[in-house]
């Protein structure tokens, strides 16, 4: 089984004037293809910084990051944009759909930047929306969709370029419990069909639906292979 994410001695230092913050202090981590992980930790633990680095939105101060075998920590901005486009899919807490575009057009967006021809774009976008159960809502604008439906559009957008890694940042944070379950079902199905998923969450119930929990504390990995059913215990302790 191939390794999708491999982090070696990753540090991230933020300097704000004289104050230096060590957001990440020597992270060693790897995620294999087909895994379904939750990154957890209290606020300020470094999990968001970790997410940004894994998502190629930010670079580590030091260390090596291999994504799907490519060393990405040294790549220039333009190459990182292409990596994000081709290898990664993002799902955000606030959905981040473009309000002037329909569901179908929102899902087509990553393929525009990938240079996919228009007809193929349309077909693949429709396919992705059917996969998340929104075949009835292709031409709706985000304002005409419920929160759960908007998040499904966002998931369709994240998977449409067939990424090697799906990154989700508190994907259910803005949703009620019923909708949360539906969204997590979709993540589960995607993972079952082979998609590698890494999800940042602070909700124990959400983390329990994954298959591996990585616990962050003070910029370090406190626990890299926690079983999901143990989450409640640590959070309580």
């Amino acid at each position: 089984m191939s390794t999708i994410v491999k982090l070696e001695s990753i540090t991230k230092v933020y300097g704000i004037g004289d104050i230096i913050v060590n957001a990440l202090a020597g992270i060693e981590l790897s995620v294999d293809a087909g895994e379904y992980c939750a990154i957890m930790g209290t606020s300020g633990s470094g999990k968001s910084t970790m997410m940004n680095i894994i998502g190629c939105l930010d670079r580590p101060t030091q260390g090596r990051y291999y994504l799907d075998g490519i060393e990405v920590d040294t790549l220039p901005d333009n190459d990182l944009a292409r990596i994000r486009n081709q290898k990664l899919g993002f799902v955000f807490q606030q959905f981040h759909l473009l309000s002037q575009l329909t569901a179908l057009e929102n899902v087509m967006l990553p393929m525009i930047y990938a240079g996919v021809p228009p007809q193929e774009r349309r077909d693949r976008a429709r396919e992705a929306l059917i996969r998340v159960g929104l075949e009835q809502r292709l031409e709706n604008k985000p304002t005409q969709l419920s929160g759960g439906q908007q998040q499904r559009v966002a998931i369709a957008r994240a998977i449409v370029n067939r990424p090697v890694l799906l990154l989700a940042d508190e994907p259910t944070g803005a949703l009620d419990s019923t909708t949360t379950d539906e969204i997590l079902d979709i993540f589960g199905e995607l993972n079952a069909s082979g998609m590698t998923v890494v999800m940042v969450t602070h909700e124990a119930e959400v983390a329990r639906r994954t298959r591996r929990v990585i616990w962050f504390k003070d910029g370090r990995v406190l626990e890299a292979n926690m079983a999901p059913q143990d989450v409640g215990l640590v959070a309580a302790g």
Binding site: L57, D58, A81, R84, N85, F92, L109, Y113, N161
Partner: protein, 405 residues
């Protein structure tokens, strides 16, 4: 991402907020409309003035008292042109075919209880041929009138209708400055010349003007307002100009500066061209300022748009847009705003020109050069003023952008 995609995206964004797009374009619309309308109206005025002078015929020369140099010195009183000068030109200059001395003054006149103040022109029979007028009824001034100072008047077409309406004016008597004149002729309508109505004129013999109406003011003879002269043909104009100038210098005993000016139709056209051309340039320059203001308006709105669309920019970057993609998208938006404003403004400007043309004697001049210039300039303004906001957008950090909820 290619240009087509960027353009599609820009269209989607611009059409999704129509009010803002419209208001932003308004600046460019007004700027372009005013540039095109001002150049059009300026050129229309230029053409109108030129055509009026061209209607005089290419063979016409004018001699007026005073000169450019003399007028600059206020103490210098130019020697008047007198009838003898005109006679000398007619007799001694071979390249001249007709000479019409003219002495004119605004004078009050009455007929049957109706009053009006009209230009009274004292002249000689050659006026008809030199200035190309035709008699509609009766006759014009003849040599006998000049010799005998007869009290006859020939009416311009408008004066005739104002005083007599449908009645035949021939043989009627009008009073000009309390002297009774017999109407012996009416001229055919000619229209206006540079805003003055050529049909609102009463013609009397030159000699009669001097003795009965205005009096003599020059010790050198019967003084004139100016002399209209026709050359034999267009080729003889330079010769006529030269010969007239020499003759008058001799007669006026000029040693240094001329106290008269000889101008051909071409000279006048050149002067008119310079004046109206300058006027057009001035109008266009003023209008161009509004074009600049429109460009600044676009930059302003684009800057607001960048900060409002921070999340959109962050998202686009997260899903794979490069800095170049974002830059291109925002620049295209700015260029489209200004170019669309430019095209609409061109329409408004042309409409304005046609409107002015419909309600004034100015002719409609829709200048293709002005249109190309305005649209190109507004597109360029969009590009220039779009770069700053677009760079700001392209440089946004996606992490910060995505978190700015």
């Amino acid at each position: 991402m290619d240009w087509m995609e960027s353009t599609n995206m820009a269209v989607k964004t611009l059409t999704s907020n129509k009010l803002r797009t419209g208001l932003t374009m308004l600046g460019m619309i007004i700027g372009n409309a005013s540039v095109i309308a001002m150049i059009g109206i300026g050129q229309g005025a230029q053409r109108l003035a030129s055509e009026q002078f061209e209607s005089l015929g290419p063979n016409v020369l004018f001699v007026t008292p005073g000169s450019q140099g003399a007028r600059q010195r206020t103490t210098f009183l130019p020697r008047n042109l007198v009838w003898d000068d005109a006679k000398a030109i007619a007799n001694e200059v071979p390249s001249v075919s007709g000479v019409a001395p003219q002495r004119q003054s605004q004078i009050a006149m009455t007929y049957g209880g109706k009053n009006r103040t009209t230009l009274v022109m004292g002249t000689t029979p050659s006026y008809l041929t030199v200035r190309d007028f035709d008699v509609a009824k009766g006759r014009f001034i003849n040599d006998v009138d000049l010799e005998r100072n007869t009290r006859v008047a020939i009416l311009g077409a408008d004066v005739a209708t104002q005083f007599f309406e449908d009645k035949d004016p021939i043989g009627e008597r009008i009073r000009i400055r309390n002297t009774s004149f017999e109407v012996v002729g009416v001229l055919q309508a000619k229209g206006s010349f540079l805003g003055s109505n050529q049909d609102d004129v009463v013609y009397v013999p030159l000699t009669t003007t001097a003795t009965l109406l205005t009096g003599r003011t020059s010790p050198f003879g019967l003084d004139l307002t100016f002399i209209s002269i026709s050359a034999i043909d267009e080729a003889n104009i330079p010769a006529a100009e030269f010969q007239i100038t020499n003759l008058l210098r001799r007669r006026h005993k000029i040693t240094n500066e001329d106290d008269f000016t000889v101008q051909s139709q071409k000279d006048i056209l050149r002067i008119v061209g310079t004046i109206t051309g300058g006027l057009t340039a001035l109008l266009a320059a003023i209008a161009a300022v509004s074009l600049l203001v429109g460009g600044i308006g676009i930059m302003n709105i684009m800057l607001v748009s960048v900060s409002e669309r921070t999340q959109e920019i962050g998202l686009r970057k997260a899903i794979g847009a490069s800095e170049q993609d974002i830059l291109t998208q925002f620049i295209i938006e700015a260029v489209m705003l200004s170019a669309a404003g430019g095209i609409l403004g061109t329409g408004v400007g042309i409409a304005g020109i046609l409107l002015v043309a419909a309600f004034s004697p100015l002719q409609a001049v829709v200048s293709p050069v002005a249109i190309t210039l305005a649209v190109t300039v507004s597109g360029t303004i969009g590009l220039v003023f779009g770069v700053v906001p677009a760079r700001q957008a392209a440089r946004l950090d996606p992490i910060v952008a995505l978190r700015s909820a």
